[in-house]
Amino acid sequence: MTAPIGTQERIAFLDQVRLEEGIDKLKKVFKESADHNKEAAVNSLNHENLQFTSLFLLRDEIKKLAILEQLSERNRISMEIVEDILSREKESPTASCRLSICDHIQMVQAVLRWMLETGSKDDGLSAEFTQVLDTTASLLTTVFRDETVLPLIADLIFTRSEKEFFNDYLIRAFFEAREPYTLDLIANRLRSPQVKEANLARRLLGFVPGIDVHKDTEGELHYRIFQAWLEENSPFLHYRGESFQETSKPVPYDVVLRGKYLGRSVSVDSGEILTPLTKEEYQILEEFENEDEAVKDSFATQSEVMRYQSFDDWKTWVRRPLKERQNAQKLGGSR
């Protein structure tokens, strides 16, 4: 192919060559272009619409041509991130600082998002490429707490599962976002007619009481169970960070029963109740904490239900001695 490399097309020329004629042709065309006109080759890399995959595939050529400094900020930062991820060395190379440090930080996040969004189209290209995408996803969810990429990461997880590609680190990157409501991105797949998709959704949400990993015929029921569980517990969820590296049945979130009992939201990171408690609330909790887990679970759930039914009745109920309420429960009443 000898067409001039311009920057006006909607799809970048290098992407077009790669997608239509393959990776080898991409490298050949780029090398020929650089031999003929290095500046035009640099411009083709700096094309606004270039996808990350093409840049990733041309990184050896970029090094040979010593054109790193001529690349756009996006491309240069991206190349530095790739080198860093694949270096296996502990120390990061010095980040480029043409931008002010504040702009640089924002630029890094934007570049990571670009790498993931455009690169995910070519997931599975190589082990190195997978590692770069996974690490990119993890940096976005853990360091930048970027929730906007979670739908894409969820899609990628299920696409990989369909293709039977390696998934563990990407699943961890998704959960590390520590946003319980984003679990809905997985829960939607409980109802999927695709067997592998529904199986993985059950496996990932198997920690929710009532979702049976082995029952593959009750997607709709599982979805409703999940929604009810999330609605009841979302303010009280604490992220434990359990992953498939440590167990075959990870429990990423647990319910902080003391928060649920008092109706006080907890920190998803620490599990601590977010607002200061009154002296009376401390006393109520002291009695509650002496009970075993099953009793606490039962009272916390009952407390949540009553609070919704009548806040005034609940206030009276929660102040009564716990043993008295236990006895009333045994006799068949709830109050």
Binding site: G124, E164, F165, F166, D168, R172
Partner: protein, 247 residues
């Protein structure tokens, strides 16, 4: 407390074959003095658990010396004479190869293998079970062997992990690294075997104390990390009673 067929037994009734100071005797004494009840249908069932726990420790030492290397799932490798390397980073037994041969090969041709710490644990458990059962029984039970971290271990080994009152040699434990650097997700924690002498075996860290394990993981935290790595209070093991039926 130890109960056999519903009757409480004292260590002196059952520790004859386990010399004083041995790991077996240590486990018996810990069980007997515990507030938890350790219930067995027969003495043979208890003896099988003790034997398997000893073999778990022995397999850990053997894997540590085998020459296997560490790799994250992206770059795992296996001996292609016996295993297919799957796209999801697992090792699938080749048709016509017996599970016992393939598992043993990991220990004898270690340099041909690279894998993560979770897969190492699974390999240790299979090797220990192989040493505890007849080879033919093992090959029958684990036909179609597939090694991929913990993903399928609750099915064929009956593996379970949960919060425990007591910990015993041969238990699976986990050092968690909550502030791991996102660049190195493989160091989000370390799967280990309790060696029964205050040390733990983890791949590739080796046999180390808890402090050494924590120190290693802390080296792989993100910049300005706030939280140290720590040992979780849960422990896991295969279903000893289920496996004892095949002895």
């Amino acid at each position: 407390m130890i109960k056999i067929a519903g009757t409480t037994v004292s260590p002196s009734n059952i520790d004859g074959q386990w010399p004083s100071g041995s790991i077996g005797r240590k486990i018996i004494d810990s069980m007997a003095s515990s507030l938890a009840v350790y219930d067995y249908d027969s003495l043979g069932q208890l003896q099988f658990e003790l034997k398997l726990r000893m073999n778990i420790i022995a397999a850990s030492r053997d894997l540590d010396l085998s020459g296997v290397t560490f790799a994250s799932f992206y770059y795992s490798k296996c001996n292609s004479d016996y295993w297919y390397f799957t796209r999801d980073g697992g090792f699938l037994l080749k048709q016509g190869v017996t599970p016992s041969t393939a598992i043993t090969d990991i220990f004898t041709n270690g340099s041909k293998y690279s894998f993560e710490c979770a897969t190492a644990m699974v390999i240790v458990y299979y090797k220990a079970v192989l040493e505890s059962l007849h080879k033919e029984t093992f090959d029958r039970l684990f036909a179609g062997l597939y090694l991929l971290g913990w993903w399928y271990r609750d099915e064929d080994l009956g593996f379970s992990s949960y919060k425990r009152r007591d910990y015993f040699p041969g238990d699976y434990r986990y050092f968690k690294n909550p502030d791991v650097n996102p660049r190195t997700p493989e160091w989000q924690g370390e799967n280990v075997i309790d060696m029964g002498d205050g040390t733990y075996y983890g791949h590739p860290i080796g046999i180390k104390t808890a402090d050494q394990m924590v120190g290693f993981l802390n080296e792989h935290r993100k910049p300005w990390a706030r939280w140290s790595a720590y040992l979780l209070d849960m422990a896991g093991h295969p279903d000893f009673k289920y496996l004892s039926r095949y002895e």
